[in-house]
């Protein structure tokens, strides 16, 4: 039986053909018979057909027997759907594109968010991991108060609530105290970002990210090696042979696979180290933003960074080590906090020696560690929520748009439906046909959306990564999110496909057949949708406007130094094995060589780029004095010869730092004009002296420069133009940043630079090659991302709203075809017709704005913290957004309006 059915099914195409032939034969014979009875050939044929009944229906009934009806009808629907989609290319493309963009943008943003904010560390039982932080007391007055027990630090702070400071770095002593006999943690481990190192494998040097970890690190995280073994407590003690664990990726790219990495001897900053293990592929350390290539025992830093580092382990006032712990089973974080906070307090109180230090002691604070450290989370979580909200709005517009387009299409096809129904098509069949089309459009949109999402995640990661060196965030497409957004859009497509489908197949097809025009209810629905779209578009436009203004303001912040035509790059000859005493000569020689490159007008070196001088820390720690007066809040910048020439900072008096300022000669300084005015008034500062905090030396002021902005563009501190420039060669600097003033595109000279460095030392990698402009932009990366993305979103929203408006107006003009014809026949001028349509456009736009302006005023407050010198209710931005929106609306409405004015009254009146 089944076989027979299958055979029929296979032969269905043939059967359909032969069935038709059989029926035709039947009709022909019948006609012949009737003709023989005396009918005319024409009448005979008609009579034969009449007696035969509905041949198409019979054929279908027959076919139904061998193919189950569903499949045959489905394939028919799909074929027909394709035809309809192909026939309405523009409309179909709009629907598909709207869907794709809506789904894609949402999925991309959400995926990125998930990978930054919510993903757990790829380790066993991440929920039991706890990050140790401490917080300072909220200050009594508004001023930020330093925690005086912290004498030195290496790491970051971030603001907590009420002006308190929060940090995750501790002295080594705190770690030892908490490690000894800990009632709450089964393991506690420490780690320090080891920064980039010069890694030499088989004679080849590269720069690699490193992480110093205590012996308990891998055990605490419960990470087992992909090959070899992990670092243990045995490796992390003074005098242990230096070992390293490399990341899986590094083992593949540098060692030719995990197993062949084991036992290899490598050079880390010229120190021989043995590779003992390879981390598993999914492990990226404890901070999703960092992915170390190299894990080294904490004690190894003494070997790498010199014997002075030994002090870090004994100094109870130097904060540098980050810590995590794993809770013992059954212990909650609150219990752990209660158990450990007093112990830490007791320990830290003992490190305070003065009353000032005792006044504000750091307090231990535990945070969940499941998601790892949150350097990215801190910076990007709020922006991502803002972006997510925007994308959700875009999705809303998308859905409205699809609904609108489908409604318009259904109205346009009302007549077609009526014709089909009156020709005997089943109602369910017609509804199904319409649904099939909607689903097809939705699926096409969804498929395109997936592609768009994949592309979006990549480009977003790229966009975000610009802010950081060695950014290795593992953002992946989130299929759950994709599923949800796709389902949402498809449901929307179905819903708005279904409603008109059911409406247009109402049994009474006669009115539709007669006048071919739809009723009022759907019309209203379209208006509501358009108004909503306009309102949402306005919100997004305002946001985009605010962020673009912010970026503009940031870009117009006066720098006081050259932004264009400067190439920056960094060298660390100390890591490449050069002795400290040789460094100044080596760097000075290189500088002269760079200056001889054709096209380079001047070359200089500095401790760090001017924009990052705040982050990198000054050349001098602590307060300097002029006589008995302490210089308050000045930045120190280490600069080499020709620094002011290269950076185009005018020298107002005296001279700039040059080759004369050698390690042995008098220590010199150039001060900024503001500093000179503040501390010397109208006196001539040249020849006066500045006392350094720690050292016996003094600086002689040899020049006064114009004011410049050092440090971040955003911070108020960066606005402080008080600066002391010291001769870099007279202060130790392992790592220097060169700046070359170039003719034309700075990056063109990167090749020359690499070549010169290779000639000087083939094992010395050139890192961080970047233009000054890009380096500055890097510091406002978040604002750039916002401005770019929001502009993109705004364009998208505007486009969709325009499409929605255009669709509605087009449809309404078509519907009023007859009316317009009559008006024009009665003498209405063409201009009046244009106005009639545009008036409705403006009315819709005005309704949208009326809803949106108050909403924008409220919503923009939420993004206040992202703005720079821009008020959330910036009237210029609001006005501009309004103008843009109205122009777009008029533009979208103009085409239908023009069409209305071109209607020929004669044609319109004759038209049914």
């Amino acid at each position: 039986m089944l076989l027979r059915r299958l055979r029929y099914w296979m032969a269905s195409a043939r059967s359909a053909e032969s069935l038709r032939e059989e029926m035709e034969l039947h009709l022909a014979e019948k006609a012949a018979e009737l003709q023989a009875d005396g009918m005319t050939p024409d009448r005979a044929r008609a009579e034969a057909h009449r007696r035969f009944g509905n041949a198409g229906l019979k054929r279908e009934e027959s076919r139904e027997l061998w193919m189950t009806r569903f499949w045959s009808e489905l394939s028919q629907d799909i074929r027909y759907g394709w035809r309809t989609i192909a026939a309405n290319k523009a409309l179909s493309a709009l629907v598909v594109l709207s869907l794709a963009l809506g789904i894609g943008a949402n999925t991309a943003i959400y995926s990125l968010m998930e990978s930054i904010l919510m993903r757990s560390l790829p380790v066993a039982d991440p929920e039991s991991l706890v990050v140790l932080n401490w917080r300072s007391q909220p200050p009594q007055n508004a001023n930020r108060q330093w925690v005086h027990v912290v004498h030195g630090l290496q790491g970051v702070f971030w603001p907590g609530d009420k002006g308190a400071m929060i940090s995750g770095i501790f002295p080594y002593g705190a770690f030892e105290t908490l490690r000894a006999d800990n009632p709450a943690f089964s393991t506690i481990f420490g780690y320090v970002n080891g920064r980039s190192r010069n890694l030499t494998v088989r004679g080849q040097s590269i720069t690699a990210n490193s992480e110093f970890v205590t012996g308990e690190y891998f055990r605490g995280l419960a990470v087992s090696p992909a090959a070899g073994r992990m670092i243990t407590a045995e490796d992390d003690r003074p005098g242990a042979p230096p070992v390293a664990v490399v990341s899986f990726a590094a083992s593949q790219s540098r060692f030719g696979g995990p197993s062949s990495a084991i036992g290899q001897s490598i050079l880390v900053d010229k120190v021989p180290v043995t590779v003992i293990g390879v981390a598993p592929p999914e492990f990226f350390g404890v901070d999703p933003a960092m992915a170390p290539d190299l894990y080294l025992p904490l004690r190894t830093n003494v070997l790498l960074d010199g014997a002075a580092t030994e002090r870090l382990f004994s100094d109870g006032n130097f904060y540098w080590l980050e810590m995590m712990g794993r809770l013992r089973p059954g212990i909650t974080m609150a219990q752990a906090q209660a158990a450990l906070a007093p112990r830490f307090h007791q320990w830290v109180a003992a490190t305070a020696t003065t009353d000032g230090e005792r006044a504000n002691l750091p307090a231990l604070m535990l945070n969940p560690g499941a998601a790892g450290l949150g350097s990215l989370r801190r910076e990007y979580s709020k922006p991502l929520y803002v972006l997510l909200a925007m994308v959700a709005l875009i999705l809303a517009i998308t859905c409205a748009n699809i609904a609108n387009l489908l409604l318009a299409r259904a109205s346009a096809r009302r007549r077609e439906m009526a014709v089909r129904l009156s020709l005997g098509a089943g109602r369910l069949r017609v509804v199904r046909q319409l649904l099939t089309e909607s689903v097809m459009l939705a699926s096409l949109g969804g498929a395109l959306g997936v592609l768009f999402a994949i592309w979006g995640v990549r480009s977003l990661t790229f966009l975000f990564s610009r802010g950081q060196e060695n950014f290795t965030l593992h953002a992946e497409l989130n299929w759950h999110v994709l599923g949800v957004t796709a389902a949402l859009s498809v449901v929307c497509g179905l819903l708005f496909g279904l409603v008109p489908a059911i409406q247009s197949t109402r049994p009474d097809v006669m009115p539709a057949l007669k006048n071919g025009r739809g009723g009022g209810a759907r019309h209203r629905a379209q208006n509501v949708l358009v108004v909503a779209q306009i309102a949402i578009s306005f919100l997004i436009l305002v946001a985009a406007g605010l962020f673009v203004r912010t970026l503009e303001n940031l870009h117009s912040v006066p720098l006081g130094y050259a932004r264009e035509n400067i190439l920056l790059f960094s060298l660390n000859a100390s890591q490449a094995g050069h002795r400290q005493s040789e460094l100044p000569a080596f760097y000075a020689d290189l500088r002269r060589r760079f200056e001889s490159i054709p096209g380079i007008s001047s070359a200089t070196l500095c401790r760090s780029s001017i924009i990052s001088s705040g982050r990198a820390g000054g050349a001098i720690q602590g307060a300097m004095k002029i006589g008995a007066v302490t210089i308050d809040g000045a930045r120190t910048l280490g600069a080499g010869p020709r620094f002011f020439t290269t950076m185009q900072i005018p020298i107002l008096a005296g001279r700039e730092i040059d080759d004369r300022d050698q390690p042995g000669s008098t220590s010199v300084a150039v001060i900024s004009e503001r500093l000179a005015r503040t501390y010397f008034g109208n006196d001539n500062p040249l020849g006066r002296r500045i006392a350094l905090p720690d050292e016996k030396r003094e600086l002689e002021i040899i020049g006064v420069s114009a004011n410049l902005r050092s440090g971040s563009l955003k911070s108020n501190e960066g606005g402080n133009p008080m600066a002391v420039f010291v001769a870099l060669s007279q202060f130790s600097a392992d790592r220097v940043t060169y700046a070359l003033r170039t003719a034309g595109d700075p990056l063109r000279y990167a090749g020359n630079v690499r070549e010169l460095v290779r000639e000087a030392d083939s094992t010395l990698p050139v890192t961080n090659i970047v233009t000054q402009a890009a380096e500055i932009d890097r510091s406002i990366n978040r604002e750039i991302i916002f401005a770019k993305l929001c502009t993109g979103f705004a364009l998208l929203a505007l486009l969709m709203a325009s499409v929605g408006l255009y669709g509605t107006m087009s449809y309404s003009v078509t519907r009023q075809f007859g009316e317009i014809g009559i008006r024009m026949a009665l003498g209405a001028p063409r201009g009046a017709m244009v106005w009639m349509v545009l008036r409705r456009v403006l009315l819709l736009a005005a309704a949208g704005l009326a809803i949106s302006v108050p909403a924008a005023l409220i919503a923009s407050r939420l993004v206040k913290s992202f703005l720079f010198q821009t008020q959330p209710n910036d009237p210029r931005t609001l006005a501009l957004a309004g103008v843009v929106l109205l122009s777009a609306a008029i533009l979208a409405g103009y085409a239908p309006a023009r069409r209305a004015s071109r209607i020929d009254p004669l044609v319109a009146l004759r038209h049914d």
């Binding site: 059915r5 069935l19 007696r51 509905n54 009156s422 098509a425 009474d508």
Partner: protein, 112 residues
């Protein structure tokens, strides 16, 4: 409007039986079957001619008849149907049922 016209069959399934009966006398093509039924009923039974073809398909699918391409009496290509063994059995069953049914109806109507 918008509805399929109802099939006008006094006794459901009777068309199948009639076709099987016709084919049990001799092999015929579709048009021949219609003609035969109408003629032998003296035109009292009017079949909606189109309905014949779905019925033929159904019978063939059930394996009661077999259709093959052949040539009609006036030399045209046509599908000639013949009854199968299973079809003869089915005809016997249906004939029995039909007889019982008509007798029962006749008894009720008092026309026996």
């Amino acid at each position: 409007m918008g509805r399929k016209p109802k099939k006008n069959e006094s006794l459901p399934g009777s068309l199948d039986m009639l076709i099987l009966r016709t084919l049990s006398r001799r092999d015929l093509h579709g048009y021949g079957i219609v003609q035969f039924i109408q003629q032998s009923s003296s035109n009292d039974l009017l079949i909606e001619e189109g309905s014949l073809y779905p019925a033929l398909q159904r019978l063939e699918l059930n394996g009661w008849i077999d259709g093959d391409w052949g040539v009609t009496s006036n030399n045209r290509r046509a599908r000639i149907y013949k009854i199968t063994a299973a079809g003869s059995k089915q005809l016997a069953v249906e004939t029995r049922q039909y007889t019982r049914l008509t007798l029962a109806i006749a008894r009720v109507m008092g026309t026996e």
